[in-house]
């Protein structure tokens, strides 16, 4: 930076390409020798009232002692400004970083230093219940877009100096801020180092959502339809994971935290399990596992049975199924694929459609697709029932919806071509893939394969809190956790 205010302002204006939201409020500070000053802000990022109260008013009303520009600068920093957050810096990159983060940058003529004053006032969504992780008994707070608010939501729940927030910047152009959150005594230093390395290696130009980082954070050679990276919109869930030695990554602008390492069994755990009675929690867990199996296998097995093994149907069901299928023009495989495909279209439409129209679409979907198509003989009622049941079951574990969808389509095709034999073989392949997958060195199928009796207390059942509290199982202590650096070698 230059000592000349004009030169610094010109440089910054050029860097911002004379953008319309780059605003400069020039003023004269009345010291013995009047000193030119300027407050640089990005329109909409700062609160004008706070700027006036904590910067402009104090500057204009203060009687400065005689001194050089540097001495006046120090006096402003220490005694004049009433903001709680003041940072001194001297590079243009920092000036850009602070001003685009909602700080007001104060520059003085005659000194190379500048001050960033915390006066953020940009509008953001208020803390509300996350839509994708609804619970009955837990907190109704979910993450929002600003990073600082998300940090606060976590800090309020873990009032422990062990909780560390570490800043990183990713994205050559977007310069998006990330926070690594971990409990210093619980998290593994090797896992932390590896996460930092992978984030630094990412060659993203713009990081606009946390999902962009998933592929960089997954282990090499562990690509699979199941994600080795966990996502949560709930601060209470993240805090629970931090206590188990996991690391959370908050991304500015995304109302979700990435959690690493991530295991398959965690997809079936929810906050409600720990608030409800253990027997009910066990029932719900087992229900979730069964729903997952039904969601994935039911359409494929139905197709396989109808196409190749009709003798496996019970006699009563066999008559009804045969009658309904014989009345339709398409084979059962094609029917199942078409119904599943149409259902996916409706689901996507339902996500994107404006709320006022949503009701109309759901009625059209139910009546037209369901009722009329069956009456007209385009599809059979038995196939429709099977697909509908599988679809409902897939929402029990909503976080697994993408792999469930892919597997469901695959099994329908495989069942239609190869029968039950093909489905069993495909399942073997999927299991081999899942069993070989790791998440930062921790086997993805931990607790199940490798089997750990100790961690079974929180897999199919939820043991009582007396048992769970005796010892927290740290994720890096799971059996057969690998040295992540072996991956590099």
């Amino acid at each position: 930076m230059n000592s000349s205010l004009k030169s610094n302002l010109d440089t910054l204006k050029n860097m911002f390409a004379s953008s319309a939201d780059f605003t400069v409020r020039e003023m004269v500070i009345s010291a013995q020798k009047p000193i030119n000053a300027a407050i640089i802000t990005i329109e909409g990022m700062c609160s004008k009232e706070v700027i006036a109260l904590s910067i402009i008013n104090p500057l204009l009303s203060h009687s400065f002692s005689d001194g050089s520009a540097d001495e006046v600068f120090d006096e402003i920093k220490q005694s004049v400004l009433t903001s709680s957050e003041i940072v001194e810096f001297n590079t243009f990159d920092e000036a850009i970083m602070f001003s685009t983060s909602g700080f007001a940058v104060l520059a003085l003529d005659g000194t190379q230093r500048m001050l960033a004053v915390g006066v953020q006032g940009f509008s953001f969504r208020s803390v509300s219940e996350p839509e994708s992780e609804v619970v009955q008994r837990g907190s109704r707070e979910g993450f929002t877009e600003p990073l600082r608010i998300n940090m606060t939501l976590i800090r309020r729940r873990i009032k422990n100096p062990d909780l560390v927030f570490e800043t990183l910047t990713v994205g050559e152009e977007s310069q998006t801020q990330l926070m690594l959150c971990y409990l210093q005594k619980s998290a593994s230093p090797e896992i932390l180092d590896e996460i930092r390395k992978r984030l630094n290696k990412s060659n993203l130009k713009n990081l606009l959502a946390s999902g962009y980082l998933n592929e960089y954070l997954e282990d090499k050679g562990s690509m699979s339809i199941f994600s080795g990276v966990g996502i949560s919109e709930r601060p209470d869930t993240v805090c629970g994971k931090l206590a188990e030695g996991r690391v959370a990554i908050l991304v500015d602008g995304t109302p979700a935290a990435i959690i690493l390492p991530h295991l398959f069994v965690e997809e079936f755990q929810s906050v409600d399990d720990y608030s409800n009675r253990p027997y009910y929690a066990a029932f719900i867990r087992i229900l979730k596992y069964l729903s997952f199996i039904i969601a994935v296998f039911l359409p494929g097995v139905y197709t396989a049975f109808a196409q190749y093994h009709p003798e496996y149907f019970p006699t009563g069901l066999l008559i009804k199924t045969a009658e309904s299928l014989s009345a339709t023009p398409l084979s059962v495989t094609l029917e199942a694929l078409i119904i599943t495909f149409v259902y996916e279209i409706m689901r996507e439409a339902g996500l994107r459609i404006p709320k006022p129209l949503g009701h109309a679409v759901s009625i059209v979907g139910a009546l037209v697709i369901g009722e009329s198509a069956v009456s007209a003989g385009f599809i059979s009622s038995s196939t429709l029932m099977v697909i509908a049941t599988a679809a409902i079951c897939s929402y029990v574990t909503a976080s697994l919806y993408p792999p469930i969808t892919v597997l469901r389509f695959s099994y329908i095709i495989i069942g239609g071509i190869f029968g039950l034999w093909g489905i069993v073989l495909a399942t073997c392949i999927v299991l081999i893939n899942m069993c070989s997958k790791t998440s930062l060195g921790v086997p993805y199928m931990s607790s199940l394969a490798p089997f750990s009796m100790r961690s079974m207390r929180d897999v199919f059942i939820r043991a009582s809190w007396k048992t769970l509290s005796k010892r927290t199982i740290k994720v890096q202590k799971f059996p057969e956790t690998e040295d992540v650096y072996a991956d590099e070698n």
Binding site: F305, A306, Q307, Y308, H309, P310, E311, F313, T315, L318, I319, K320, T321, A322, E323, L325, S326, T328, S331, V332, G416, I417, F418, G419
Partner: protein, 196 residues
């Protein structure tokens, strides 16, 4: 690139060679649940009763010397997609059973698609006609067979049991279930001598 190419090659080969055109398909299959053996005009007939949703029984009868012969004729003449995996009841008039029961039991035992637990019963005159007119009659027969077994445990009521008795060859008579419809429908036990 190599992985993608090999996966594509694999899928192509699998689809080409899998023979998926040979699928049975539930909507095209004619599923036989009962077979009845009777004599008419000096000839032996095999009647296959098919699963259906209609009010009256759906059946097809062929003249044949054995169950094996009857299955082939039925597939050629009337029901090409005849499916026998769900066959649950074999009813034979006493006169036909003396000639055909052993051979038919052997045929059932040698073919994987038959269930070994097909109920087998002999019957008197008029019982097979009741199968033609009453759709629920087959279930009534099965109930009577099960009751008969409970009353007398030495009775052989399944094809598995009958096969084992035929081949045990200890000179004992074979106790079989017999459905009589003289006055009312009832199940009895009759003995058939086992030839050494």
């Amino acid at each position: 690139m190599f992985k993608k190419l090999s996966a594509l090659f694999l899928c192509a080969i699998s689809l080409a060679l899998s023979g998926c055109s040979q699928s049975k398909q539930i909507d095209k299959a004619y599923i036989a649940e009962t077979v009845a053996v009777f004599e008419n005009g000096g000839k032996t007939y095999y009647s296959f009763y098919l699963l259906s949703d209609s009010e009256t029984p759906v059946y097809t009868a062929v003249a044949a010397e054995s169950l094996e012969d009857a299955c082939e004729k039925a597939k050629k003449e009337s029901v090409p997609n005849l499916m026998l995996s769900k066959l649950g009841l074999y009813v034979s008039e006493k006169s036909s059973a003396e000639k055909n029961l052993k051979g038919d039991t052997q045929f059932i035992a040698e073919n994987a698609y038959f269930s070994p637990l097909i109920y087998v019963t002999l019957c008197g005159d008029g019982v097979v006609e009741m199968l033609d007119s009453d759709k629920e009659f087959g279930e009534k027969l099965e109930e009577l067979i099960i009751l008969n077994k409970k009353k007398d445990s030495s009775v052989s009521v399944t094809s598995l049991s009958i096969f084992n008795n035929f081949y045990e060859n200890k000179g004992k008579d074979l106790a079989l279930s017999y459905i009589n419809s003289d006055k009312e429908l009832k199940a009895e036990v009759i003995k058939m001598p086992l030839k050494k």
